[in-house]
Symmetry: C2
DNA sequence: CGCGAGCTTGATGCCGATCAATGCATGTGG
DNA sequence: CCACATGCATTGATCGGCATCAAGCTCGCG
């Protein structure tokens, strides 16, 4: 109970989009001057989410979107009969909670995979502000649209790729997003378990593990538990899409 | 060439959302009076798309969204190496083209599965109007959000269901949407081939065919080519989600 | 130090892919 | 009007990739 309360503590101090180093990746893309000031008024609070704790759960009433400031999240949906599917992993600058707009309730769980912080974006106020700032409106719509396109990519992966192709595509996607944030694209630490990767990719954890081992044997990766080094990015790229059919 | 020109002919006469019998399913949900008039100004043109022809293709410049007025569409994405994945089937009242907002180019093909008509919703003008009409803005955001939620559902299906569960889930989804449009939910004519169903569900056409035959043997369905009758909806419902694990 | 969560690796089995043949409806040209 | 072509669907036989079951390993942590 105490832990649950701690999990939803809200940071009282202000954070400014205008001084955030993620502004080129996040909601403020392409905005300047006065627009950024207006956005600063909107996004006034952070929230800390300890590792393993939910930011929100399916069924929760929808009030806000969240921009990841630091840390790493997963989102997962469940069917009535208890099956779970990880639908995405989110890192700094990415937006969480878009699923809640349609029904005014969240439809998935968002769980921190490490100690994280998010910026709270009150949705009603965001809608009000996007009616004034067309650049913000445009950017918000783009974020939603890209989420749809990303989901289509995952469908393609789940519907037509074999296990090793899926893992290769997943790793390439991760390294690409890390590079966009100024991190090395050849060395990364996975924040999620094999089981979570497997759930995302529609595979069992053993299959994920075997694929990692295979990539290591083939000299594509070095794998030390969650510490991954990409030795041969070109070969990894080729592994995605040498269709057998 | 003549056929291509015919495919993009635009109907010159006006159609009004205010008098459309799909308005409770489409963009105008929850709007009345003056708002509907404004929407009528925006959505002024239809376009006919003959069976088999694309409404748009991946790579096309994005200008408009489309609301299906009559007919039936599929959307599909392709990877560089030529694999295809059907990402959805759209019927009357559903919106096509949301994928294009993010990059200002369409990222998937939308193809008519029967002779169809769509209403053209010029995107720039829609953005302008949503800045004035908060009800329209809200509804538009809900449509995008629900598309995201729908995609998550497909991921769950592709990532964790077995063949027969997938087909059962697909059929239940179809009948539900048909019922919402006033059609019988026990008798339906599929507008897509077994191969297209298979692509959507991550299965081969033979597997789809076998699952249909199995359902017929079990007395759940009557299957005559594309004419499907649901004999036992409860059993169909149970087929989704008796997880083996 | 020992426990437990997470990871690796091996052996086996099953579901769905693949290959192949046949059936069925629609349409077309002689 | 029939012969034939064509596209789609069904069904059977076989194969392979991934799931499943099981055992041992690694590492962080109380």
């Amino acid at each position: 109970m105490a832990a649950a309360l701690a999990a939803i503590r809200i940071e009282p101090f202000k954070v400014a989009c205008s001084s955030c180093n993620l502004r080129e990746l996040c909601l403020p893309v392409g905005m300047g001057g006065e627009q950024l000031e207006r956005l600063d008024e909107l996004v006034g609070q952070r929230r800390s989410v300890p590792r393993g704790e939910p930011l929100f759960r399916a069924g929760d009433s929808f009030q806000s979107l969240y921009a990841v400031r630091t840390g790493f999240f997963k989102t997962c949906v469940a069917s009535e009969d208890g099956r779970e599917q990880v639908t995405g992993f989110q890192m700094a600058g990415e937006v969480l909670g878009l699923d809640g707009i349609g029904t005014e309730r969240h439809t998935c769980d968002a769980v921190a995979l490490e100690d994280s912080q998010v910026c709270i974006i009150p949705y009603q106020q965001l809608e009000d502000l996007t009616r004034e700032l067309s650049d913000l409106q445009r950017q918000f719509h783009k974020i939603m649209s890209r989420e749809i396109v990303r989901d289509h990519g995952v469908m393609l992966l789940l519907g037509s790729m074999r296990a090793e192709e899926r893992l290769a595509a997943f790793l390439l996607n991760l390294t690409q997003r890390l590079r966009a944030r100024g991190f090395s694209s050849s060395s990364l630490v996975l924040r999620m378990t094999r089981e979570e990767i497997g759930s995302y990719l529609g595979l069992k954890l053993e299959t994920v593990s075997r694929a990692f081992s295979k990539f290591q044997d083939d000299g594509v990766l070095e794998v030390k538990q969650r510490q991954i080094t990409v030795l041969d990015p070109a070969k990894l790229q080729k592994l995605v899409g040498n269709a057998p059919c």
